[in-house]
Each structure stands twice: as structure tokens, then as C-alpha cells.
């Protein structure tokens, strides 16, 4: 297999937009191509993530639509849907296309538009990623899924609501430093703890927002990347799945798919969690960040909450997590999220992250979780 590098990145401002998801993707993709100094004519394939286009925009076949709006209508294009991990799944398959030698230059990205519909509708559409017969019938929501995880984690390890709130406070603090973030405002523990309950024990400020946005990146083979301005190498990209039904999961305080995907990624790259300098992970809810830091091996099981509370995951801490502000403050346009996390880690490893730069970062990790914890992708990146 050939080495693969990310040679260009592009992300739209996250928040509310009056443009279609295809337009948002196209802006990000054109920025990524410009960043890579790569003419669009050299792109050989597009791997695209989009989740609820069928519901919020009455639009299927969003892959070729996105390619057409970008202006590369004839490249082979496939849309991936693994709930919130969609564009990270697209990335992994694109890496394999370049690594295999099938293509030298491939575009990856994703976009989502949800703020054009009322919250009760987007809550329902997101719930479509849980099981229709067993879970949707009960009125289970995504905050509900992670509330079950939170309650189990609190019971098993003594994790507190204040520790979860510390994750939100930290990610909002980071988000202030990111001009693309949806929320650029610091919050206090009290703001989180006194916010309205959404699904006990999760409160409004434990939850990431609904977001419109797009992200894209350019992948290249080693030969092409050698002439690029600042290639960042893909050291590993791994996926894992788990039972669809929450009832079939043995221990709700853990996300086994994170543990399996991380183990596979570390094995591929020949490194361990101690070698990682910066992490962008899937904090769709504050408890999700705590459980992910444990599953990725950054902290022992049961200590993720303590790590957040003590500032070990803050910029300047032992292992900075979500310097972009994470899904919590940067925002979570679900089809774009995996690609946007990769764009952030690439920017960090290039040393171009400005005020949110993790000093001297050489290796980075991205982690994206899909739906009811049934899909997880983990990728590793390095400066050399």
C-alpha cells in the first residue's frame, strides 16, 4: 500500500446558512483545492458525507449534486452515510483508493443543512439513526442515548454532572479561539448546570448544537504529495461497528467500537496513545468526550471526568482535546463533522492554528462516532 497525505483543507464557517448543503460543500472544497494548489481537473474521485439531506432538503443523490455544484460533474462520486461519522467513513475509503494505487488525487468532504427546519423535526430526523422498531417507537432521542451512557458511567465510576459540565466549559473556551466556530463565547460551570434538562442527566449545555456547514480535504499519493506545500501524512484510518440496539450492548458506560477502532488505528500506525499530541474527538455530548478519552486510551476507564475537571484536556494541558472547540462549540454539521475534525488536526500539525495552536504538535488523532455508538472511526496523522 502507498503512503497517503492530506495536502489541502477547507472548512466553511459553522452556524446558520442560507445556502444548500451542496453549496456549503462546494465552498469548502474549492478552498481545499486552493490550499493544496491543486487544479480541480486533477481530482479523480469524490467521497462525500451527508446524512439527513433526504429529510431537511428533500434531496437524495447528494454526492453527484455536490460534485456538480463544485464544478467537477464527471468524477466518480459516492455518498457515505454512517450517521454522524459519515465523512470520516468517506475519508477512510478515499485513503484506501489512493493507498491502493487506483487514484493519485481524491477529494473528501461532507456537508449538512439542518437549521432550515424546526428543532423538533431535526430531533426526529437524527433519531432515524437509531432502530426504527425498537427505539424510535419509544421516542428515544440522541440526547436520550447519551443520557443512558451518562447514567451508567455515573453509577459505575462516580462521574459527576460537574465533571461533564467541565467538558462544555473547556470546549467553549477553545471555540472562542476558532473563527469558524458556531459559538465563540465562554460559559461557566453554572451556565451548564443550570441550563434546562433535555434528557436527564443531560442538560442543554451538555449537548452540541444543530449546525449547517461543510468541510473538505484533498488526499494525494506520496509522489504527488512530495511537491505539496505542507503534506500531513495519514498514519492510519480504522473503522469499527457495534450492535445497533442499545439493549444488545453489555455495558452502556463504554463504547466498544471506539476501543476497537482505536486499537486497530494504533496497530496500523505502530504508535500508542502516549505518542499523540493533539486530539479532535466526537463530543456530541459532554459525556461522549469523557467516554471517548477513556476508549482511546488517553485516560484510564472511569477517569475521563477527572481529566476534564483538572484541565488535562485543555489547551496547555497534558493532552489537548478538541482545540477547535469540538462539536460542542465549533458546531456539528453531521455530514461534515469527520472531515472538519481532520481539517483541524491537519492545521494543527502544520503549525497554522494560530491562537489555538498546540505547541509542537507532531502527531494527531481524530475520532468520529456515528449514531447510537454503532459506528466509530479513528484516524492518525503525522508531520512525517
Amino acid at each position: 500500500m502507498r503512503r497517503v497525505a492530506v495536502i489541502g483543507v477547507g472548512v466553511t464557517k459553522f452556524g446558520r446558512h442560507e445556502r444548500t448543503s451542496a453549496e456549503l460543500f462546494a465552498e469548502a472544497a474549492a478552498d481545499a483545492l486552493a490550499d493544496a494548489e491543486m487544479p480541480a481537473g486533477r481530482v479523480q474521485a469524490l467521497y462525500y458525507g451527508n446524512v439527513v439531506g433526504g429529510e431537511t432538503e428533500k434531496q437524495l443523490h447528494t454526492g453527484p449534486q455536490a460534485a456538480s455544484v463544485l464544478g467537477i460533474p464527471t468524477v466518480p462520486t459516492t455518498r457515505f452515510e454512517t450517521a454522524c461519522a459519515s465523512s470520516h467513513a468517506a475519508f477512510r475509503h478515499a485513503v484506501m483508493e489512493v493507498a491502493s494505487g487506483a487514484s493519485d488525487v481524491v477529494l473528501v468532504g461532507g456537508a449538512e443543512r439542518v437549521l432550515n427546519v424546526p428543532t423538533a423535526d431535526s430531533t426526529e430526523y437524527f433519531a432515524y439513526a437509531s432502530d426504527a422498531s425498537w427505539e424510535q417507537t419509544l421516542g428515544l432521542t440522541f440526547p436520550g442515548v447519551f443520557a443512558l451512557v451518562a447514567r451508567a458511567h455515573m453509577h459505575k465510576y462516580g462521574t459527576t454532572e460537574a465533571q461533564m459540565a467541565a467538558v462544555a466549559v473547556k470546549n467553549h473556551k477553545h471555540g472562542v479561539l476558532n473563527p469558524k466556530a458556531q459559538f465563540r463565547k465562554e460559559i461557566t460551570l453554572e451556565t451548564v448546570l443550570s441550563s434546562p434538562k433535555v434528557a436527564d442527566p443531560l442538560k442543554l449545555y451538555d449537548c452540541c448544537p444543530f449546525t449547517d456547514g461543510g468541510a473538505a480535504l484533498v488526499l494525494a499519493s506520496e509522489e504527488v504529495a512530495r511537491t505539496a506545500r505542507r503534506p500531513i501524512w495519514v498514519l492510519a484510518s480504522a473503522a469499527a461497528s457495534d450492535w445497533m440496539l442499545l439493549g444488545d450492548k453489555r455495558d452502556l458506560s463504554r463504547v466498544p467500537a471506539t476501543e476497537r477502532a482505536a486499537a486497530a488505528a494504533y496497530r496500523q500506525a505502530g504508535i500508542g496513545p502516549q505518542d499523540v499530541d493533539v486530539v479532535e474527538l466526537h463530543d456530541c455530548f459532554t459525556i461522549a468526550e469523557i467516554v471517548a478519552t477513556e476508549g482511546l486510551g488517553l485516560f484510564e476507564p472511569g477517569t475521563g471526568g477527572i481529566a476534564a475537571e483538572k484541565g488535562w484536556t485543555s489547551l496547555g494541558g497534558k493532552i489537548p482535546v478538541n482545540p477547535s472547540g469540538g462539536l460542542k462549540a465549533k458546531g456539528h454539521p453531521i455530514g461534515a463533522t469527520g472531515a472538519a475534525q481532520i481539517c483541524e488536526v491537519v492545521t494543527q500539525l502544520r503549525g497554522e492554528a494560530g491562537p489555538r495552536q498546540v505547541e509542537g504538535a507532531r502527531r494527531g488523532l481524530t475520532h468520529t462516532l456515528g449514531g447510537n455508538t454503532a459506528t466509530v472511526l479513528v484516524s492518525l496523522f503525522g508531520r512525517d
Binding site: P118, T119, A120, D121, T123, E124, A127, S133, W134, E135, Q136, T137, L138, G139, L140, T141, P143, G144, A147, L148, V149, R151, A152, H155, P196, K197, V198, A199, D200, P201, L202, L245, L246, G247, D248, K249, R250, L252
Partner: protein, 126 residues
């Protein structure tokens, strides 16, 4: 599919009548919640229906206060993951238990419920 296959439709028909039907692997004895074509433990394709007691304890729970569009008029409502005596777990609505009495480890018993006219899993006090 054989005559003894517990389809999703059949499971919920039987649940509506008050019985939870699990499936037991005829090769390795693993117990599972239907529908499954192959045994995840041994790969065999030889399931036998097995009635479940419906008795268990709450493994985790939440109270949904912001509901999806289709359930907005029902909020707040409790959903729990319940570990049945036989070792399998199911998600269900908890009914007739005060919201502030919910706790991990609380014993509950299956009861058939309808949510928006669709059969669903419910759990009530023992």
C-alpha cells in the same frame, strides 16, 4: 427462514399479547433478542423461540424532556435499559413509576404498551 423464526412482526405481535419471546441458539445455547439470522456467538442458523420472564432490573435510564416531533405531546417520559433475569437487555418505556423513583437496579416487569398506536416495550413496577 424456518417456521420457528421469530420475525420482528411476530415478536411485537406476541409482545402485544403479553409475552416477550427471545431466541436460543440450537447449537451453542446463546440467548438473543430477535430478529437475527445467524448466531453472533457461533455462526449457526438454528434458533429456537424461548419465552422470557419479562422480569429484570434497570441498567440505565433517562427522562426525555425534549422529544422528537412525533412524541412531543408525551414528554416527559422515562426510557430505561432493562437487564432481564435471563441475561438479555431491552430498552423500554417505564410506566407507573414516579420519575423521581427511577434508579439503576430497580426491579421492573415487562408490560405491553402502545405508543402512538404501535406496540412497544414497556416496564412497570414488580
Amino acid at each position: 427462514m424456518t417456521d420457528s423464526t421469530v420475525t420482528l412482526g411476530r415478536f411485537f405481535e406476541q409482545a402485544r399479547e403479553g409475552t416477550l419471546t427471545g431466541i436460543r441458539c440450537g447449537a451453542c445455547g446463546a440467548l438473543a433478542v430477535p430478529p437475527k439470522e445467524l448466531c453472533p456467538a457461533c455462526g449457526a442458523r438454528r434458533w429456537e423461540p424461548m419465552p422470557l420472564s419479562g422480569e429484570g432490573t434497570i441498567a440505565s435510564y433517562t427522562i426525555i424532556r425534549v422529544a422528537p416531533r412525533g412524541h412531543a405531546d408525551e414528554a416527559p417520559y422515562a426510557i430505561a435499559a432493562v437487564r432481564l433475569r435471563e441475561g438479555v437487555s431491552l430498552l423500554g418505556r417505564v410506566v407507573d413509576v414516579p420519575l423521581d423513583a427511577l434508579a439503576i437496579g430497580l426491579p421492573v416487569r415487562f408490560r405491553p404498551i402502545l405508543v402512538k398506536e404501535r406496540p412497544a416495550i414497556g416496564f412497570g413496577p414488580v
